[in-house]
Structure formats: structure tokens, C-alpha cells
């Protein structure tokens, strides 16, 4: 009892002193300062991801489908980073094809750009954005199983691809029922519209947040990944959940992150970017690379210890 009591006193003291941060190695918020347009094969920065045995390794990238040279530059860096960090799959957080969806668009805005990764059997798991037709769910390389929202697992991690473009009763009921029976250690939701954002053009999708956040907190979703905003942002943990935006995979909205936003833990809006993620046991490691090969953010997040609902 004495030992427990002493532990309790330490915990209370730590709480009082404000030692409640969730992010280990969190950096102060800045919007980055990279320069340059055309990049000729930038040097790959040192990757800080641990490459642990049996870890789950993937990439987060969004708003890709432009078919531009810059999208290709970023894809080339992604391919090169796979040599140092052999990720297994890529999460696409929507706007997979801008402008048109003819077979030629699929080719120039996706297949040609990521062909080497597709050939290396890297799987792409897509979610739908506001520029995506629902028929994309049938596309062979988006692995959506013909569904607008779906779940898949890797190791101890469950991934929920949602259609934030159309969050109706059916999807909400499906999400609640899937999460209620999910015993995975990590639950990660990915979709297009960010519930929290410091973007000047769009900002937080508060209507969506009103609906999904109570579900996420209730059922212990650990991480939420989104796009829509054409920049990178790591949001300060909200209600115990880690939120990321990685929507600069094919488009950039330079300087769009509001300066001094209270939501921002770290942001980068000076060039296009993607995020490498590795989940090993109770830790999620991440490193965000810009098109110019800079590390614009990195860190380790501990898995939240929360009581999840036991609703059946």
C-alpha cells in the first residue's frame, strides 16, 4: 500500500507541475522555411525511424492527383526513401485524381507517377476526397474492395478509411459497430477532411468533427490522418487523440498555415511533403520529408492508455 501511495503522490505531483505532454521530442510550431522549386534528386536525409522487427511501416500522403512534375519529384523521393525505410503500403487521404477521371487521368496522375512502387508490390489504400468520384473504389490499385469506407489491419494496428465527403448515418453506424468490437492496440482513422486545421483557406471541418470526434474518443481511436489542406500540420493532441494533416502530395498552398495558430504543434507549408510512419509496439515513430529532402518534422508518440467502450 505504501509503495502505491508513493507512486500516487509522484503522479499527482507530476500532474500539478504540468508534466502532461503526450509527444516525446515535440518541437515548437513553425511553418518551415524551405526554398526552391525544381529539385534535382535531393539527398535523402538521415532517417530516424527505428526499423524495429515486426513493426508496421507505411507512408501518409494526400492530395496527390495532379500529374505534375512536382508530384513526380516527390514520388521519386518517396521511392528512394523506401530503400532506407522499406514501407509496405501507402495511405492516400483523398483527392487522388484532380480534374478528370478518364483512363488517361488514372495513368498520368497515379500509375505513371508511382509505377516503381506499384511494381515493388507496395499497396496503396485510398480514401475519397472532394475531387474523387465514388467509382474510384473499384480501381485495382486503390485497394478499397469496392467500398467507400473500409477497415484493414496490419499487425496490431487497425486502419479505418472513411469517406468524409459523405459521413451519413450508414457510415457512422458502421464505424461505431466496427470500433466497438475492435481489439487492436492501435486504431488509426484516415480520411480527407481534417477535423482540426490551421489552414487559412479551409480550416477545421467542424461539422465533421462534431460527429466523428465523440466516436473516436469513445472507442479509443489513437491517431487521425487527413489531407484536404495542401500543407503538413501536426496538431497538438486534442482530447487525447493525435491529428496529422498531410495534404501536400501533389499540390501546395504556400504560406496557408495561420501564424500562431493554437492548434499547431508543427507545420510546414513551404513545399510538398509526405510522412513516413513506423508503429512498433506502443510507439508510433514518424518523419516528414519535404520535396527538397528536408526533414520537416519527426518524433515518437506513445500509445494512449485509455479505457475504450465496451458497448455491444
Amino acid at each position: 500500500m505504501n509503495r502505491i501511495f508513493k507512486t500516487y503522490l509522484i503522479v499527482v505531483l507530476a500532474f500539478v507541475l504540468g508534466v502532461t505532454g503526450n509527444v516525446i521530442g515535440q518541437k515548437k510550431g513553425t511553418n518551415g522555411n524551405a526554398k526552391g522549386n525544381k529539385v534535382a534528386a535531393p539527398a535523402l536525409p538521415r532517417l530516424t525511424l527505428p526499423l524495429a522487427k515486426d513493426s508496421v511501416r507505411f507512408v501518409l500522403i494526400g492530395d496527390t492527383g495532379t500529374g505534375t512534375e512536382k508530384q513526380q519529384d516527390l514520388a521519386n523521393l518517396l521511392l528512394r526513401s523506401r530503400q532506407a525505410f522499406p514501407f509496405e503500403f501507402v495511405l492516400l487521404v483523398g483527392d487522388n485524381l484532380y480534374g478528370g477521371e478518364k483512363p488517361a487521368d488514372y495513368k498520368t496522375k497515379f500509375e505513371d507517377v508511382y509505377r516503381p512502387l506499384i511494381d515493388q508490390q507496395v499497396k496503396f489504400y485510398a480514401s475519397l476526397g472532394n475531387h474523387d468520384e465514388p467509382a474510384q473504389r473499384f480501381y485495382e490499385h486503390f485497394n478499397m474492395d469496392g467500398k467507400e469506407y473500409y477497415r484493414f489491419t496490419r499487425g496490431n494496428v487497425a486502419f479505418y478509411a472513411l469517406n468524409s465527403n459523405y459521413m451519413d448515418k450508414k457510415q457512422i453506424d458502421w464505424l461505431q459497430s466496427e470500433l466497438a468490437k475492435d481489439q487492436s492496440d492501435w486504431k488509426i482513422a484516415f480520411f480527407h477532411h481534417p477535423p482540426y486545421s490551421s489552414g487559412g483557406k479551409h480550416g477545421s471541418s467542424t461539422g465533421l468533427r462534431e460527429i466523428v470526434e465523440p466516436i473516436f474518443t469513445r472507442y479509443g481511436v489513437n491517431v487521425v490522418l487527413a489531407g484536404h489542406e495542401h500543407f503538413y500540420e501536426r496538431i497538438k493532441p486534442q482530447k487525447g487523440i493525435f491529428y496529422f494533416i498531410s495534404g501536400a502530395g501533389g499540390k501546395l498552398r504556400k504560406g496557408d498555415v495561420k501564424d500562431g495558430s493554437p492548434l499547431t504543434a508543427k507545420a510546414y507549408d513551404q513545399d510538398m511533403s509526405f510522412m513516413l510512419v513506423e508503429i512498433s509496439k506502443d510507439s508510433m515513430h514518424f518523419q516528414v520529408l519535404s520535396r527538397t529532402g528536408q526533414t520537416v518534422d519527426s518524433g515518437v508518440l506513445p500509445r494512449q492508455k485509455r479505457v475504450t467502450a465496451a458497448v455491444r
Binding site: M1, I4, F5, Y8, G99, G100, E101, K102, P103, D105, Y106, K107, N130, H131, D132, E133, P134, A135, F138, Y139, E140, M144, D145, G146, E148, S164, N165, Y166, M167, D168, K169, K170, I172, D173, Q176, S177, A180, H193, S205, T206, G207, L208, E210, I211, V212, P214, I215, R218, V307, A309, A310, V311
Partner: protein, 217 residues
């Protein structure tokens, strides 16, 4: 809790002060552990799924029933056409997706040649949508709904039934809070705003099934 404090103070006062404080703290700790356990148990028990059913008046229920019936009429037509089409694989090529959609749209257009706009979106339904947006949302939420619909890049969408929604045009995010107040649609069709106008669009082939003007107040 005051009773706990009075009780513990009275009990421990005669003993030496350091020991007393230590024991009181221990007692408080035990009480805290007990109350936390009790409250978290209650919290888990209280957690229920979010109720997604809208609360409707008798008149609205009738309106929703009419709407559902008319949507089902479309679904029957759609099913009849889909049955004759080669099924689309879940791992289709872009060319297969395009051919499937084209074929689907052409056959549906032929079948629905005589359908008039407003068959599904009857005037009372449009009024319901307008009133719902006007009265059920706080000013900030209302402004966000309007902004989402109005800022979308979809000027080129024709307000014509039986025409495909152009694939190059943005599909506006439907505000989830509003969707929860509208009838639940089969997964094959969706509501879409094009500026202030509300459309019913087929998810698989992009056909504009119906539209109503100025559903957004």
C-alpha cells in the same frame, strides 16, 4: 467528502502530527481510488452508440415516406438496368470503370426518358431542407454549411436530370450534421449541393437522378 475529513481528523487528532497527516492522506488515497473506480465503471456503462435517427414530426414522417418511396422507384429502375450489365470487379482497370459507367448511364437515360425533374424532390421536401438549415443550426454552423456548398468548384454541373455529373467537377462535402437530418439514402445514391441547389446523384455512374433549386436558404 466533508464527512470523510471530519471523521478522519477526529480519529487521528490525538496521535503525533506527522503520522496523522500520513494516515489521513492514506485514507484519502483509498477513497480516491474507490471513487475513481466507481466513476469509470459508470462511464463505461453509460457509453452508448450515437443515436443517428432524426426526430421527426408526424408530417415529416409522412414526407420522408413519400421521399423514400420515390427513391425506391428509381432504385427499381436502376436494379433492372444493373442486372443486364456485366458486373464490375472490385479490382477493375480504369478502362473497365469507364466502360461500365458509360453503359450504365446510357441504359438508365433510355429507361428514364420520360421522367420529369422534381419527381423525387417534391416542393414539400425542398421546403423541409430549407427550413431545417434555417432553424436547426446555430448561426456559425449554418454559415459553415453555406460556405462549404458555395465555395466548391462545380460551376460546370448541368442542372438537368438524366445527365452525368461531370467527372472534372468537385463533389461538395455534404455537411454530416445536415445529412443526419435528411432521409437515409441507399448507398447507390447521394445528396450533393451544387451552389444553392440540391442534387440526387448516382454514386456508381454519376447520373443526376433529380435536382431542386435553392434548397439552401
Amino acid at each position: 467528502m466533508d464527512v470523510w475529513l471530519a471523521f478522519s481528523l477526529q480519529f487521528y487528532c490525538p496521535m503525533n502530527t506527522t503520522k496523522s497527516i500520513y494516515r489521513i492522506a492514506k485514507m484519502w488515497f483509498a477513497a480516491l481510488v474507490f471513487s475513481l473506480a466507481a466513476s469509470s465503471f459508470g462511464e463505461v456503462r453509460a457509453q452508448k452508440p450515437i443515436d443517428t435517427k432524426p426526430v421527426l414530426t408526424a408530417q415529416e414522417k409522412k414526407l420522408f415516406a413519400t421521399f423514400d418511396r420515390r427513391v425506391n422507384d428509381y432504385m427499381k429502375q436502376r436494379k433492372a438496368v444493373a442486372k443486364k450489365l456485366p458486373s464490375l470487379s472490385k479490382e477493375a482497370t480504369p478502362a473497365e470503370i469507364e466502360a461500365y459507367q458509360k453503359n450504365f448511364v446510357e441504359r438508365l437515360r433510355a429507361m428514364r426518358a420520360g421522367t420529369k425533374p422534381g419527381y423525387i424532390f417534391i416542393p414539400a421536401f425542398t421546403t423541409y431542407v430549407r427550413q431545417t438549415i434555417k432553424t436547426e443550426f446555430a448561426p456559425k454552423a449554418k454559415a459553415e454549411i453555406k460556405q462549404t456548398a458555395l465555395e466548391a468548384e462545380n460551376k460546370g454541373v448541368p442542372l438537368k436530370i438524366n445527365y452525368p455529373y461531370p467527372e472534372s467537377q468537385e463533389l461538395t462535402e455534404m455537411p454530416p450534421t445536415l445529412l443526419l437530418k435528411l432521409p437515409t439514402l441507399p448507398k447507390e445514391v447521394k445528396f450533393r449541393f451544387v451552389k444553392r441547389h440540391l442534387l440526387l446523384v448516382d454514386s456508381d455512374n454519376g447520373l443526376i437522378v433529380d435536382y431542386t433549386m435553392n434548397a439552401m436558404p
